[in-house]
């Protein structure tokens, strides 16, 4: 009963958070100066073509009607809620009319998930492993070198690091492609190799930048944890160094890292804008960016809602599984 009440409360909070987030993302762009119709007309007029004012006015009227932007904000919101709740349809993209928003997201999301989840898995695993070793053996020279390197690399602006990688490995030593160009039929071995080859540099750029943080944070927690009484006791009981490091220190120090990992998983659904722009990598980051530039309300709501749901879900799952990871945690 107690568990059921806990679950019900958490799920209700989850639904409330998602609803509030989606509502905010629905209204906020509509309060910002700019709308998709004027963005589209402005882009046409910026070409310098002689746009007859009559043409501009009639196009504005037609586009406003076509994009469903007539009526009050509440009427538009009500129509939006009905569409999303009943048919899970965010409607057509306004910038890429009449392409459905879901189709654009379905095309971009797998690329973001593939890149970001892989980068997260590698940097989290490697970072925590190196951080654990560095923290457990914190008096060694290697540990200090690792920490120094991490502290030097970590604050480097991502764009600079990524550009250096491009210059080094795509231009000076052209080992990797300059531009993201995948070949082969999707699903085939040739295609998978091409994806891996083309994704290597963007992947490494993200891994290098995020590795520093995981190393530094894990090292700090490992140093703290290894001085705890229960760890000392394990040593006195004759446990081997490796067993103490893995079974006692790591298991405790990793807990906050799991929290951050779960929250980071939610964040991958937003893509990585700078990575995508610099490497020409297709993904959610550039999709959201284009939506903002074009004041594409439907695409903004659809793509950012995915992120909202992902982060909220990750938080919910973390809340539910945390007692399983850390036996000290119990909810009243």
């Amino acid at each position: 009963m107690h568990v059921i009440r806990f679950l019900a409360t958490r799920i209700m909070v989850y639904l409330l958070v998602v609803w509030i987030g989606v509502t905010i993302i629905f209204f906020v762009p509509r309060f910002v100066p700019g709308n998709p119709v004027d963005a589209m007309l402005g882009k046409m007029m910026s070409q310098g073509t002689a746009m007859d004012p009559k043409l501009v006015e009639t196009m504005r009227q037609t586009l406003t009607e076509l994009f469903g932007l007539e009526g009050t904000l509440w009427e538009q919101y009500s129509a939006f809620l009905q569409r999303v709740l009943l048919t899970r349809d965010f409607g057509p993209s306004l910038s890429y009319y009449p392409t459905p928003v879901s189709m654009l997201i379905a095309k971009a999301l797998p690329w973001s998930l593939g890149l970001m989840l892989t980068a997260l898995a590698i940097s989290w695993t490697l970072g925590n492993f190196i951080g654990l070793l560095a923290g457990y053996h914190n008096n060694s020279g290697i540990s200090k070198a690792i920490e120094t390197t991490a502290m030097i690399v970590y604050p480097i602006p991502y764009y600079i690091l990524a550009l250096v990688l491009v210059i080094l490995f795509a231009y000076i030593w052209p080992i990797f492609p300059f531009v993201f160009q995948v070949s082969g039929t999707p699903g085939t071995w040739q295609w998978m190799v091409s994806v891996a080859y083309n994704s290597f540099l963007p992947l490494m750029s993200i891994v290098i930048v995020s590795l520093g943080w995981w190393i530094i944070s894990m090292k700090a927690m490992a140093i703290d944890t290894k001085e705890e009484d229960f760890v000392q006791y394990a040593r006195y009981r004759g446990a081997s160094d490796n067993k103490v490091m893995v079974g006692y220190v790591a298991r405790t120090a990793i807990l906050p890292q799991v929290t951050v990992l779960a929250l980071s998983i939610g964040g991958v659904f937003g893509g990585s804008l700078i990575t995508e722009i610099l490497f020409g990598y297709p993904g959610m980051g550039s999709l959201i960016y284009k939506a903002i530039l074009g004041s594409d309300y439907n695409l903004m709501v659809g793509s950012i809602s995915i992120s909202i749901v992902a982060v909220a879900t990750a938080t919910l799952v973390l809340d539910l599984i945390y007692p399983l990871i850390d036996p000290r945690i119990r909810y009243d």
Binding site: P33, P36, M40, T58, Q61, A145, L168, I292, L293
Partner: protein
């Protein structure tokens, strides 16, 4: 030990960073533009490199690379689609600013004296790339699309403009309009960039589809290239020369194009685009910054700009840059305010601060492109010099070109400039307004402005005068930089001037609704002597209240005199001698009223790589302007030749 470890780490990192600054291994054929093209090699799409012209796709990667419906909102007309696949009844010759017949056999013939009925004769023997002939039925079908589909954005214009459309034979179309349209060919044909309302589509394909949602894929082309394939992620599109290229308008007017393949490719950020060009992986770049141009000229002997040396850029882009105001709101509704701001602008410093001086100045509301400058700017110098404000002040200064030449001489680049005054004026413009802060102050004080103890300007109500200049943040870099240069001048004058950098949606919305004070917009475009189609939207009949999107006259400038001249201009045809004379009167009146502050034509750095192809249009080889992203590119590419 600790210090040694740290030092080791620092050396490794520094080595990595330093190697990034190392000169790259020279790519093939770096010895100069005269060297033979390297043999062999394939592009990443599998075509022979020496048969593939690779163009930069400035529009970026496409979310719908398989969408080719020119009448759908949001369609991307670039990536080769309107450049080489679509075609127009009448295309534009950018060297003269005049249209010429393309799909049409001749210019349209007015069938009555009031210009409400026109005959269009098509060229026989033009075929779509699927082998079906292009006929009057396609033209009629396409025009009727707009009339019969109320969901197409073109619908409103169609029912307002067109009364009737019919084919009288296989190659003849009669169009009746609802009102007198003496500029009929400009309404349906290409002018700047392309047409705006009409591109023939294949009736035999489209009549089976819903035109509001039809993707038009694969596109069926009238141009001399046909669609080949595209990147599903939207980074590139490949076009191939048609075997029957002679059965196109370009094929009948020009000769066989040199490139067998055209590849529009989005490389990425500007740094990557420059590196790609140095690597000979791109042949044509669209619109880079002067700093990037400098890198290219330093690093590559096979890359050249419009001018082989300084000032590199082509100054003939048909839109000009300057500062606009909402002329319906105080204090910008006062001509004294607008004139004061013009006179408080150090235009030479603005030129140097924007694009290192590589700009052509313009005091008139139309850009100083060669065809327009020769028709208006130069002949009007006398009137501009004699022009007086109501206090008797003569604001015009004809010495801009001479002064800029002197500045460049001091910088050590004078040797690359023309030597005669006439040539300097051709290059840098006829002149601009004087930089006269005393007169500017006098004008402001005459309408109640004052200064505080620190010399800062106060509005007549005693509050500090603050101006926020809207500027685009991630596009049209010249306008963005101009805003900062102008803000600098005005700040020195004592105005609290700042710059609001904005993304596209907000930027355009502010101009449309008038919810801005000043903006680095570009409401002055024109390509040839007939400027009326471009300036007609300044008519006061289009003024709407601030807060309401404006269909025209976004500056909300009210002027009975300008309206009177425009009403007369509307009735004359493009080739009527009265057209130019009335246009001159209009431009002088707009200058006197300072409807906005025009400053410079647009300078485009549009470099080309001569490793694999040659005979690009340049200042020394001027058969067309370097407008790779326009519809007339199909005529340019027919001149480009492979390097032997």
């Amino acid at each position: 030990m600790k210090q040694k470890n740290l030092l080791f780490a620092l050396i490794v990192i520094a080595s990595l960073l330093l190697s990034a600054c190392a000169a790259p291994a020279a790519p093939a054929a770096q010895s100069g533009a005269d060297a033979a093209a390297p043999a062999g090699g394939e592009t990443f799409v599998g075509t022979p490199r020496n048969e593939t012209l690779i163009l930069d796709n400035l529009g970026g990667s496409l979310e719908r690379p398989d969408f080719f419906n020119p009448y759908a909102p949001g369609v991307d007309m670039g990536r080769g689609y309107h450049e080489v696949c679509l075609d127009n009844l009448w295309e534009i010759d950018t060297t003269t600013g005049e249209q010429f017949p393309a799909l049409a056999a001749e210019m349209p013939k007015a069938l009555n004296a009031d210009y409400t009925s026109f005959e269009i004769k098509l060229r026989p023997g033009i075929y779509w790339d699927d082998g079906v002939e292009f006929t009057a039925d396609d033209v009629v079908y396409t025009l009727q699309l707009g009339l019969t589909n109320d969901k197409l954005p073109i619908h409103g214009w169609s029912i307002d403009y067109l009364k009737d459309v019919k084919a009288t034979d296989k190659y003849t179309v009669i169009v009746d309009t609802t009102r007198s349209q003496p500029r009929f060919s400009k309404d349906l044909g290409a002018t700047i960039w392309d047409a705006t309302r009409f591109w023939p589509v294949p009736k035999h394909v489209w009549e089976k589809e819903d035109p509001t949602t039809f993707a038009g894929f694969p596109p069926v082309c009238l141009g001399q290239y046909k669609y080949s394939k595209h990147d599903p992620n939207g980074n590139w599109t490949l076009w191939q020369l048609r075997d029957d290229w002679q059965q196109t308008s370009v094929g009948m007017i020009n000769k066989k194009p040199g490139p067998k393949y055209l590849l529009w490719n989005f490389v990425g950020t500007e740094e990557k685009r420059i590196l790609a060009m140095i690597n000979n992986d791109v042949d044509i770049l669209q619109d880079i910054t002067p700093e990037s141009m400098q890198v290219l000229t330093n690093k590559s002997k096979v890359v050249r700009a419009w001018h082989a040396g300084f000032p590199y850029a082509d100054f003939d882009d048909p839109c000009e840059r300057g500062i606009s105001f909402n002329n319906s709101q105080f204090p910008y509704d006062q001509w004294q305010t607008r004139w004061a701001l013009a006179l408080a602008t150090d235009i030479k410093k603005a030129s140097l601060g924007t694009f290192a001086g590589m700009l052509r100045v313009s005091p008139l509301a139309v850009p100083p492109v060669a065809a327009v400058q020769n028709t208006y700017h130069k002949p009007l110098v006398e009137r501009l010099t004699a022009m007086q404000l109501s206090d008797g002040y003569k604001p015009f200064d004809p010495n801009f070109a001479k002064d800029m030449a002197a500045i460049f001489k001091e910088q050590g680049i004078g040797a690359e400039l023309p030597t005669t005054e006439a040539e300097l004026v051709d290059l840098f413009g006829v002149g601009w307004w004087k930089y006269d802060v005393a007169e500017a102050a006098s004008l402001l004080e005459s309408i109640g402005f004052t200064r505080d103890a620190n010399g800062k300007w106060l509005l007549p109500d005693g509050t500090p005068w603050k101006i926020a200049i809207n500027a685009p943040v991630d596009f049209e870099v010249q306008s963005g930089r101009l805003a900062f240069a102008v803000a600098d001048s005005w700040t020195k004058f004592g105005i609290d001037a700042t710059v609001n950098t904005m993304t596209g949606g907000s930027f355009w919305d502010a101009e449309s609704t008038g919810e801005f004070q000043a903006g680095s917009y570009w409401p002055g475009c024109a390509i040839g002597p007939d400027i009326y189609p471009n300036v007609s939207n300044w008519h006061q009949k289009y003024i709407v209240p601030t807060g309401t999107p404006a269909p025209g006259n976004r500056n909300r400038h009210k002027s009975d005199e300008i309206a009177r001249i425009m009403d007369e201009l509307e009735k004359v045809t493009s080739d009527d001698p009265k057209n130019v004379e009335l246009s001159k009167d209009l431009l002088m009146q707009m200058a006197l009223e300072m409807t906005w502050i025009p400053m410079f034509g647009t300078s485009k750095f549009v470099p080309v790589n001569e490793t694999y192809f040659t005979n690009y249009p340049t200042a020394d080889n001027y058969y067309e302007g370097p407008w790779w992203w326009w519809s007339n590119f199909k005529f340019i590419v027919s001149h480009i030749e492979p390097k032997k």
